[in-house]
Symmetry: C2
Subunit: 156 residues, 2 copies
């Protein structure tokens, strides 16, 4: 009965889509989605998800996944930067070669660096080409798959 996982997902969704100011309210919404738990469990869930209650501008509070938002902000920017310059990507051995519009290689490489991917050891940028050195033993296909998984917006 791996209900918790599903529940966590729904909680995330509910928090994003609604302004919720107490666990009690969230419990109701959960109940509508056919998850029936107690406040105690919900409290634990929120801790797992690192959800916190932030003071609102007007006069109240609401729950928010701030850590995620923080990551997202910076991640989104990087992905935009990559997409902006990227023309193609190809592999040979443990090297990836990205072709970019002229002059964009640097910004693409910086953005890739900023993603801090375990799978990538480092990058070098020319004018319209970025060389990516992939971690030993990792197959390019595997890397591509993981990237697409993790960053669906990435146009690879």
């Amino acid at each position: 009965m791996n209900e918790r996982k599903d529940r966590l997902k729904i909680i995330k969704k509910l928090i994003k889509e609604n302004k919720i100011d107490s666990q009690e309210k969230l419990l109701e919404l959960l109940s509508n989605e056919n998850f029936n738990v107690t406040q105690a469990t919900l409290s634990r869930d929120l801790k797992l998800l690192k959800v916190s209650k932030v003071p609102d501008t007007s006069s109240g509070y609401y729950y928010s996944l701030l850590e995620e938002e923080l990551q997202k902000v910076s991640e989104e920017r990087n992905i935009m930067d990559i997409n902006r310059g990227l023309l193609s990507i190809n592999f040979s051995g443990n090297l990836g070669v990205i072709r970019t519009f002229s002059g964009y290689a640097n910004s693409v490489a910086i953005a890739i660096d900023n993603l801090e991917l375990d799978e990538i050891i480092g990058t070098i940028a020319g004018d319209d080409t970025v060389l990516i050195v992939i971690k030993e033993g990792l197959a390019p296909d595997e890397l591509l798959k993981q990237l697409r998984d993790r960053f669906p917006e990435l146009e690879l």
Copy 2:
């Protein structure tokens, strides 16, 4: 008796410098700084500051000024990107001309755009040059001053 203002400042500092997991603890620290208030007042202060209590990785909670952090993260990145490419800046009329290392113009321009400055209407990037169009009526000196004020790390 404008004690609250001072207190809010100290609270910010304390929150940045310590891992605080309850208002009670924060009250102690405040007391050390010679601010003696009740938990009720502190709760109100935290609301004003939009401080929230976030779940910690390990197993606890701590107070954090997330809104500020979120802005900072994205701002810091932009400033890094600018500094990385920037060689010089000069003005003529309502235009600013930034020279960059070859290939960096684009990433510098993007970063400037991302700062969303009221004073700047737009930018265009070549390969090693960024053109900045300044808001009508604003003197270049004034713009520089404001930028340095607002972003001390910026190497202009």
